[in-house]
Amino acid sequence: MYVELHARSAFSFLEGAALPEQLAQRCAEIQMPALGLLDRDGIYGSARMHVAAEDAGIKAHVGAEVTLANSLLKGVARDVRYPLLAANQVGYRNLCRLITRYKTREKNKGEGFSIPEEIREHSNGLVCLTGGDEGPLAAALQRGGIEEAQSEIEKLVSIFGQENVYVELQRHFEREEEYRNRAALDIASRLRLPILATNGVCYAKREQRAIADVFTCLRNKRRLDTAGKLLCRNSERYLRSPSEMEQLFYDLPDAIQNTKELSNRLAFTLEKLGYEFPKYPVADGDTMAALLRRETMAGARDRYGDLTPKILAQLEHELAVIEKLDLAGYFLIVWDIVRFCNRQKIFAQGRGSAANSAVCYSLGITAVDSIGMKLLFERFLSEERGEWPDIDVDLPREMTVNASSSTSTSDTAHAARQ
């Protein structure tokens, strides 16, 4: 079974001719179980790809093509791009940090590039492919032939590790590409690296080549009839079905087999982002959930006086949901900020959907009796929605810094700043 692990979406501005949704839908049509989206210098398309992939019943691998400084690759006039795939959460974090690092450096949009030291620093958890026309292998071959190419791949191995470098092979029925494939196979054999078939996808369906050509013209500020060899040579960079790819690489079954194996290795998807709210410090033997319960009940007695069964039932329901979603720390941090403000006589008032929570009312975060007003808690927090709660607290502008820097714990300060 073949999995396409090198595809671009329209989020590679003026390079990819298909939206993530179109790619996901095409995957479902051709029964491809997963897709690796590697947009240029960003993971902009990953979120939409993730949602579309969920709808289509496929897995969306996250990655990006990372541009490397030209000056370090003399003799090659164009950009060189490292196709990188996030294998796990660490890899995803590293990929985001790497791109952020050089994007915040760029003077003009789209001109940012990384340097080898940065890539080395952020290589953990990433899988590197050797790329197609714009990849490091093609650049090195153009620069200095097969010896230079081997040296380049050895460098990749030293950065990412032997098991995280795949020698990429693409077949678009082009002479020059087949020459590159032969060199790639030779190098893979010498360095004992796995080979990987990809189609360097730029559009979902063959007929979208026209859009890709028009994008090329826009990118290069040319007209179709003057763009010449800047345009695609043929219409083969579409999302091929597994059977087509198996036929195309009939002589290299390992290249197909490895796509499935690599796809299985890439455990990370946007479903498992792994974000955790900062923890609220509690005494040994205590838990955040227990502390929240104690403070809520104490606050409720202040607010309501007698805790009727109705009030108790609502508070129990809300606390159960908060505990289940592991959000006790978040509520305690907001409570801590509001408590600090009250002590300092800074006006702090929770607003928005948080007013629907009796826990927030009891903790003094909001001033609205949600039970008395018969407000629906699920509008604020719902187990089914799977979304994080959003407690907005209004503070006077000049007091915001004070409040964020003077709260009782550093985690609270950090959260307040956020």
Binding site: E174, A210, G228, K229, L231, N234
Partner: protein, 502 residues
């Protein structure tokens, strides 16, 4: 700053006399307008003595015995061009103010041409050779220089405002209302206008009066803006009778080329591009509108090397006319050349002989004439994925250097000999792979082949194309083995043998 203003008085008449000097001794009346309302617009002194005045009808002027001649825009254009060209010979900073007037910045020309008076005299003498009698005024600003040139005869150097004080007020071209007011006040000269109180004048006649007073006081009102337009080398002639044959047309073209080449040489320039336009006189049918292509024959001749050789240009133009004859008799001829710096080549002592570029140009033009325009030249690849996309570019032999380049050891490479045009072939294909091939009466089995190579393009036009290509090794019936590049046009399914590998 110092400016010289060069003015041609009685411009239409002088333009005529410059081309037809024999008329100078006759009583000449120039007429203008649309028939039958032709009126006299200029007369010379002799005609004036016979009683002919500006504004008379053509018949009245003829009755008075004047030689009545239609005003010639062509002659006036030539006279104006001579005026500008003469000014440009003295200074690069020239402002072309009107058909009969140019202003020249002559500051800093003393070491080249002498004192301001000498410069003015030389300008005047130079235009006299063109049979144009001009007035030259020199002053510290262009406005005073122009007033002097318009007001005084021959050469005048204005050093102070009172020199122009005696000139009539009408020279400044005041509006009729202002002139009437001034006449009522008894102000008729520039000096009288200059003496008026500026504030009082402004209160009574407004800004026009103030501006004219500034001019009368020798002050500058209009800025000097040197022309920065490129030199233009163009000639045009309207024929009295339309010409059908090449020989008489060549005669006309030759005289135009002679003027252009002389003009180019005068500016130390040459040309490598000649545009010509022939206005045609096609048969007309009532109610049928003729298009631009039927009314004009326009062509451009390009040369690899700049030249000012009239004979060469004429021959190239004749050859072009032979291969692209106009579709109707010719009524007028316009030539325009693109001026470039002349070619200076120092031949190396040991450099191999190369053909004379002018002769080579003539030879290729002759061959083009014989074989067709697109059949002669050097093939030049086009920026396209379409195989064999090329155009025939102008044949330009590579420059030969006499320095010996070190011999480089080159690794042997496979050479592909392309057949032009590609040979049609019958290709038998199974499972997307070629099996057998027949072409030129030969049949061969494919014993080895490459993967297919796909190319397609120009999907946005009706000429969109797509093809599949293989490199194959063929074994023929006699046992011979050879390597070929074959292709299939996927639009028509026609097979081709593109070429053979050495």
């Amino acid at each position: 700053m110092l400016f010289a203003s060069v003015f041609i008085p009685d411009f239409p008449l002088q333009a005529l006399f410059a081309r037809k000097p024999e008329l100078r001794t006759e009583a000449v009346a120039l007429i203008d307008g649309k028939p039958p309302l032709l009126k006299v617009m200029a007369v010379n002194e002799k005609a004036r003595k016979t009683g002919v005045e500006v504004g008379l009808m053509k018949a009245q002027a003829e009755m008075a015995g004047a030689n009545v001649i239609l005003r010639s825009p062509e002659f006036e254009q030539l006279a104006h061009r001579s005026l500008v060209a003469c000014a440009q010979n003295f200074s690069p900073r020239v402002q072309d103010k009107a058909a009969d007037l140019v202003v020249v910045d002559i500051e800093g020309l003393r070491s080249l041409f002498g004192s301001p008076e000498q410069i003015a005299t030389r300008i005047r003498a130079s235009l006299l050779q063109e049979r144009l009698r001009v007035n030259v005024g020199v002053a510290s600003n262009p406005d005073s220089a122009t007033i002097a040139a318009r007001g005084f005869h021959a050469v005048v150097i204005v050093t102070e405002a009172k020199q122009i004080g005696s000139l009539p007020l009408t020279l400044l071209g005041p509006s009729s209302e202002l002139l009437e007011t001034m006449t009522l006040w008894g102000i008729t000269t520039l000096g009288e206008l200059a003496a008026l109180d500026a504030r009082a004048l402004s209160q009574r006649v407004g800004q026009e009066g103030v501006l004219l007073q500034k001019l009368a006081r020798g002050q500058q009102v209009n800025p000097f803006i040197a022309d920065d337009k490129e030199l233009e080398f163009a000639e045009r002639t309207d024929l009295e009778y339309s010409i059908e044959l090449l020989d008489p047309l060549s005669f006309v073209i030759s005289s135009l080329l002679e003027r252009i080449c002389a003009d180019l040489e005068e500016h130390s320039l040459a040309t490598n591009e000649l545009d010509y336009e022939l206005a045609l006189d096609p048969p007309r049918v009532a109610g049928v509108e003729l298009g631009d292509q039927q009314l004009f024959h326009r062509r451009t001749i390009k040369m690899p090397n700049p030249t000012t050789d009239r004979k060469l240009l004429l021959r190239l133009l004749q050859l072009d006319l032979q291969s692209h004859p106009p579709t109707a008799p010719v009524m007028s001829v316009s030539l325009r050349v693109h001026a470039v710096r002349p070619r200076y080549v120092q031949q190396g002592l040991f450099a191999p002989q190369t053909p004379d570029p002018d002769k080579l140009e003539l030879t290729t033009a002759r061959l083009s004439n014989l074989l067709g325009e697109n059949e002669v030249g050097s093939p030049e690849l086009l920026d396209s994925h379409r195989p064999r996309a090329f155009v025939m570019a102008k044949f330009e032999p590579a420059k030969v250097s006499d320095s010996k380049s070190p011999s480089r050891v080159r690794s042997p490479k496979i050479a592909l000999r392309l057949f032009e045009p590609a040979k049609r072939a019958s290709i038998r294909i199974r499972s997307d792979a070629p099996l057998q091939l027949s072409f030129d009466g030969k049949h061969g089995d494919v014993i080895k082949h490459s993967p297919p190579w796909l190319t397609s393009g120009e999907w946005w036009t009706e000429a969109d194309w797509s093809r599949k290509e293989w490199d194959v090794q063929l074994q023929f019936a006699d046992g011979a083995i050879a390597d070929y590049r074959i292709s299939i046009d996927l639009q028509t399914n026609q097979g081709f043998v593109e070429g053979s590998y050495d």
